[in-house]
Amino acid sequence: MSDMVRLIEPLIPALRRYARALLRNPTDADDLVQDCLERAIGRWHQRRADGDVRTWLYAILHNLAVSQMRQRARRGTSMPVEDAPEAVLAVAPNQHEGLLQRDLTAALDALPDEQRGVLLLVSVEGLSYAEAAQVLAIPIGTVMSRLARARDRMIQLMDGERAAAPAGRPLLRRVK
C-alpha cells in the first residue's frame, strides 16, 4: 500500500502531461488520469512484480486514451478551436512563441494516432524504445519506423502550415 503510493505518486505529473498531449482538453485529460490511477490501484496486486511501474502506468493510460479517442472519432464530436475557452488550449496563443506552439500542436493533432503516441512517449516522456514498445505492445522495429514517420510528418505539416499561410495574416486563424 505505502509501496504503491511511493511508486505511483511521483509519476502522476508525467501521466498528466502525456494525457494532456494526447487529448488536449485539460478536463478530459485529468479524467483519463483519474481512470488510469483507479485502475492501477485496483490492479496493483495483478501487476507483474518484476515489471516496471512506469511503463505499466503508461500502458494503462495509453489504452484508455485509445478507446476514448475511438469513441470520439465514432461520435465525431469535436470543439472548434474558436469556441474553446482559453484554458482548454494547452498553450496560450498570445505571442510569436505562442504561434509556433499552435503550429506544433496543430501538427501533432493532425498526426495519425499511432504515430502521435510513439512520438510523445519517446520525445516528451523520455521512454526508451524498448519501454515505448512495451507500452504500445508493438515490436521495437515498429516503434522506430513510426517514430521516423511521425517526425517527418510533423515537419512536413508545420512547414506546410507556414508556407500556406498568406503573409501578414495571423497564423492562429488557420488552426483547425
Partner: protein, 257 residues
Amino acid sequence: MTVRPITEDDIQALIDDRLEAARRAEVEAYLARHPDLSQRVERMRGLGDALRDAFAPVAAEPVPARLTLAHLVEARRRPRLPAWQAAAAAVLLALGGIGGWGLRGTLSAPMTGVDALAQEASANYAVYAPDRLRPVELAASSSDELARWFSARLDRRVGVPDLSGSGYRLMGGRLVATPHGPAGLLMYDDARGTRLVMLMRPMAQPGDAPMREHRTGSATGYAWAQDGLGYGLVGASDPAVLHPLANEIRRTTATNT
C-alpha cells in the same frame, strides 16, 4: 575500415541520444558528409525540444486534489452498500423498534464474503461434477486459453493451479454465473475419476480472508480469499485430502501473484 551502413534507426537513435559512443561517432561522421540529412536531423532535434517545451508546463502544475493517491484510495475504501441492502437494514431497524425483532432471520442479508463463495462453489460442484457428457467447456489442453478467458472476464490476472503433484489432473473449466458476477470454474480428477472443482471470482472486499470449511451433503469445501480473489475448492474426497490440497493451492497462488 568498413563502417556498418547507416540506417534510419541510427538517425532516430542519434536524435534521441541513444547511440553508443562509437556508433554515434560513425553516424556523425556520415552526417558531416551529407548536409541534407544533417539538416533533417537538426529539424527533428528542434522538434523534440519544441514538444518538450510545449508540454513541460503541464508536468510542473500542482497535481489536482482529485488525482492524489490518498484521495483515490480513500474513495475506493468507502463501503459501497447496495441501495437495497441499506433499505433492508433500515427496515430491520424499524422492525426492531416496534418489536419485530423475530423477523431478522428472514430479512437478514444474504450470505456475503467467503461464505457466499463457498455456497456458489458447492452449487457448481453439484451441477457440473456429475456431468458425464460435458463437465467442462474448455479442455485442459487449452489451459493458457482458460487463464486468458478467466483473466479477461474476471478483470484481473487469474492462473490455473497445477495439482498434478497431488494426483489431480486438470480436466478443464468454464465460466459460470454467480450473484456476484462471473466466476471461473476449474475441474480436476484423480486416477480413480474422483472429481473436484475450484471456483474463483473477485471478492467485494480487497485483501485476504481466512480459509473456512463447509459441508453440503457428501461434499466438503474450503473457501478463502487472497488479494481480493476468492477461491472455493469443493470435492467428495476426504477432508484429510482436500484440506492439504486447499492449503497447497493457497500457497502456490500466493507465490504466483
